[in-house]
């Protein structure tokens, strides 16, 4: 059964690693839904969070082929794990004067943050699970979505016993 998997790869912070990982996905015809890279607490290591869609067999191959890359240090598939997964989005929404307050209320509802404002638009920062991001885009469609920039998913294992958020 095809399903979304969040795969987290700890990689050596070296030139060419991203190209290697991206090239492997292309060469083996795996589909990347999203990919983010950033430094970790250890300057010699970066973290890639890759969202792939596939059945168990495909995702198992993705995991193994990633692990095979010499500069990839560790690979983890978050499927079935208790993880916190978040996207960050900047979205520019058209603001017809008569809808302004309605839009601001919507932003409030989604715990979004207005980061730029003009006479005809508002730029909003929204963070959260992918479903929330998608819901916000949908909610804005009737006003006119001018531009969307998203980071793709980042995720981390939840170790605490209680869910804080």
């Amino acid at each position: 059964m095809e399903q979304k998997h969040i795969i987290s790869a700890l990689v050596q912070n070296q030139p060419g690693v991203l190209a290697h990982v991206a090239g492997m996905f292309a060469a083996r015809a795996f589909n990347i839904d999203s990919l983010t890279v950033g430094r970790t607490e250890d300057p010699s290591l970066s973290r890639m969070t890759i969202v792939v869609v596939g059945d168990d067999r495909v995702v198992e191959q993705v995991r193994k082929q990633l692990a095979k890359i010499i500069s990839v240090v560790k690979v983890q598939d978050f499927a079935g794990k208790d993880v916190v997964a978040r996207d960050l989005m900047l979205i520019s929404v058209a603001t017809p004067p008569e809808k302004r307050s309605e839009i601001l209320a919507l932003i409030e509802m989604f715990k979004g943050k207005v980061v730029d404002i003009g006479p005809k638009f508002v730029m909003v920062e929204v963070a959260g699970p992918e479903s929330k991001i998608e819901a916000f885009i949908d909610a804005c469609r009737s006003y006119g979505v001018k531009n969307v920039v998203r980071t793709g998913t980042v995720a981390m294992n939840r170790h605490g016993k209680k869910q804080v958020d």
Binding site: P15, Q65, K68
Partner: protein
């Protein structure tokens, strides 16, 4: 970065400084390199200047591709790491085919390439190419050195990565300023590869489960691939097969890992494998794959492959497990270790019914060809080479029909005896590979059984064979076609031989022009004599056999068909 005026070390003892090129040469010697292949060019001159005084034998091919195939076959024949050097830009891009060949067949190569000065990188400088970018998909690992202090460690890591785990080619790109920089003499620095671990010991419970499955099996088949040869595990294969009483089939690259003179040998399986190997695989209740990867040329239609079998897969590469077929009992690790552990737990079983069935297939469908013709049949030439070399020569091939006939009709008895491009199917591999193998095996007999089209691609390397006085023998199965392409056009494209016939040169004349010996054979009665003459030659020798132009390779499992849907068996029966 580069220390042009070395300063006093902090400890007070004066560190010794050497140019990076000397560090590279020293590290190669430290890694046990005594032979290298490659081609010169502008940005590798500092390296070659230091190589001038080094105890390393250097072989100049006539094209960098030839150099990689030589290093590759040197590795296949010797079990050591092959080393090839090329300059930047076109030198590096010419390595690509050879690297891809080695990658597909898991052959350990270290390739060193020159690169333009670091400050020019990205500026489209003369002879600049993004070598690490271009070679990334065809190497196990590659790296560009951007700090001369990393030279020694990077080269050590390259050898370590190339030769361990599932071996493969590793490329180190060396900008010319790294080679001329003054570097503190290399300390034996530890390898730092946090992302690279090799599992050698198989999981003991998995091994026991596998042994249990073998002991229970009524109709087992041991299916061995090139991994067994890489792991030097052919003794262990023989011991396991003898102890548990198993029939053994081999992939193209596995040939030689099990003595084909033994009754338990099913010979090669797959698209052009024997009928008895393919039937046995389709009928078996347990398939024990060792160092093999279930490639499409081996399995035929995956859905119907070995439909009755439970599958054990022993491989050092976890990514090979369940990549193509669903494996029931995976064992990840070194084949040599796992097989010897496994042999301890298996029991001998007669399996009389199973072996009787196999004997029946063997009697009914032996490999055949028409021996009654006037024309020269390639299979006859190969059998004659086999007879006269007493089945003991190291055999190299190009890619195509001649390769399959060789795999079928030269019966191999030891590992590393057969050297061929399996995974990538690289035409032109034969002659340079024969040269590399001959360098690794001085004084031993190396025969390249080649096709005319394969030979055409790299025949310039005859000059290399002559220059280094290498007594390689080349038997060209000359049918004036790209034979395998023509066979497919005959069978699947209504005999429309689109663009597949060639006007070839007179190879004997070509050979003589290079300073080698050239012989032409166009009559069947002259075949044996020509081979005798060839084997007596001390010079490189090319024999041009004008074979039956439309001979096909049988049996054949057409692409996408099940392994037991073989064409050509009726032809065999008509010849019986």
């Amino acid at each position: 970065m580069s220390t042009d005026s070395p300063s006093q070390g902090a400890s007070g003892t004066k560190p010794t400084y050497k140019p990076g090129s000397q560090i590279i040469v020293d590290t190669l010697i430290e890694q046990g390199v005594d032979t290298m292949f490659g081609y010169l060019g502008g940005v590798v001159l500092p390296f070659f200047d230091k190589l001038y005084d080094a105890p390393i034998r250097f072989i100049n091919p006539r094209h960098e591709q030839g150099g990689t195939h030589m290093a590759d076959a040197y590795a296949r024949a010797s079990g050591k790491v092959g080393v090839v050097v090329a300059t930047s830009g076109p030198g590096a891009t010419n390595l690509v085919t050879g690297l891809a060949t080695a990658m597909m067949d898991s052959i350990p190569i270290v390739a060193l390439t020159g690169q333009v000065r670091t400050e020019l990188i990205g500026n489209d400088a003369f002879q600049e190419a993004d070598t690490t970018g271009i070679t990334r998909p065809v190497t196990k690992h590659n790296v560009i050195v951007k700090d001369p202090n990393d030279l020694a460690r990077t080269i050590r890591e390259a050898f370590y990565i190339a030769s361990t785990g599932r071996p493969g080619p590793v490329l180190v790109d060396l900008p010319v300023d790294m080679q001329v920089a003054q570097v503190e003499a290399a300390k034996p620095e530890k390898i730092k590869l946090p992302g690279y671990g090799v599992r050698t010991h198989g999981h003991s419970r998995q091994i026991s489960t596998a042994a249990g499955a073998i002991n229970e099996s009524e109709r087992p088949v041991l299916y061995v691939g090139g991994g067994v040869i890489i792991a030097n595990a052919s003794d262990e294969v023989r011991q396991l097969a003898a102890k548990a009483h198993l029939p053994v089939t081999m992939t193209l690259l596995g040939l030689g890992s099990y003595d084909q003179r033994r009754a338990e040998s099913l010979d090669m399986l797959g698209m052009h494998g024997t009928a008895y190997a393919n039937y046995a695989v389709q009928e078996c209740d347990l398939l024990i794959a060792v160092g093999a990867r279930f490639e499409d040329r081996v399995t035929g239609k995956l859905k119907t492959f070995a439909p009755r079998a439970k599958i054990i897969h022993i491989d050092i590469d976890p990514a090979s497990i369940s990549k193509n077929v669903r494996v029931d009992i995976p064992v990840v690790g070194d084949a040599k270790m796992i097989l010897s552990e496994l042999a301890k737990e298996v029991e001998y079983r007669q399996r009389a019914e199973w072996f009787a069935k196999i004997a029946e297939w063997k009697a009914k469908y032996p490999l055949r060809y028409d021996t009654g013709t006037e024309t020269i049949k390639p299979q006859y030439v190969i059998e004659e080479v086999h007879r006269q070399t007493e089945g003991d020569a190291t055999i190299v091939t190009g890619v195509g029909q001649h390769q399959m006939w060789t795999a079928q009709f030269y019966k191999f008895n030891r590992a590393r005896q057969f050297i061929s491009s399996g995974g990538l199917g690289t035409m032109g591999f034969g002659l340079p590979a024969a040269i590399g193998a001959q360098i690794a095996l001085p004084g031993q007999l190396v025969v390249d059984i080649d096709g005319d089209s394969s030979f055409n691609m790299t025949l310039g390397e005859l000059a290399t064979a002559v220059q280094y006085e290498l007594p390689v023998k080349v038997c060209i199965m000359n049918n004036g076609y790209m034979g395998m392409v023509r066979q497919w056009q005959e069978l699947f494209y209504g005999k429309r031989y689109s663009c597949s016939s060639l006007k070839n040169p007179d190879y004997a004349t070509v050979a003589r022009a290079f300073g080698a010996v050239g012989i032409t054979v166009d009559k069947k009665k002259d075949v044996a004599g020509a081979i005798e003459k060839m084997l007596a030659e001390t010079k490189p020798c090319v024999v041009d056999f004008r074979i039956d132009r439309e001979e096909n390779v049988w049996p054949m499992v057409a692409a996408g068909k099940s392994l037991d849907e073989m064409d050509g068996l009726d032809i065999f029966e008509s010849m019986a």
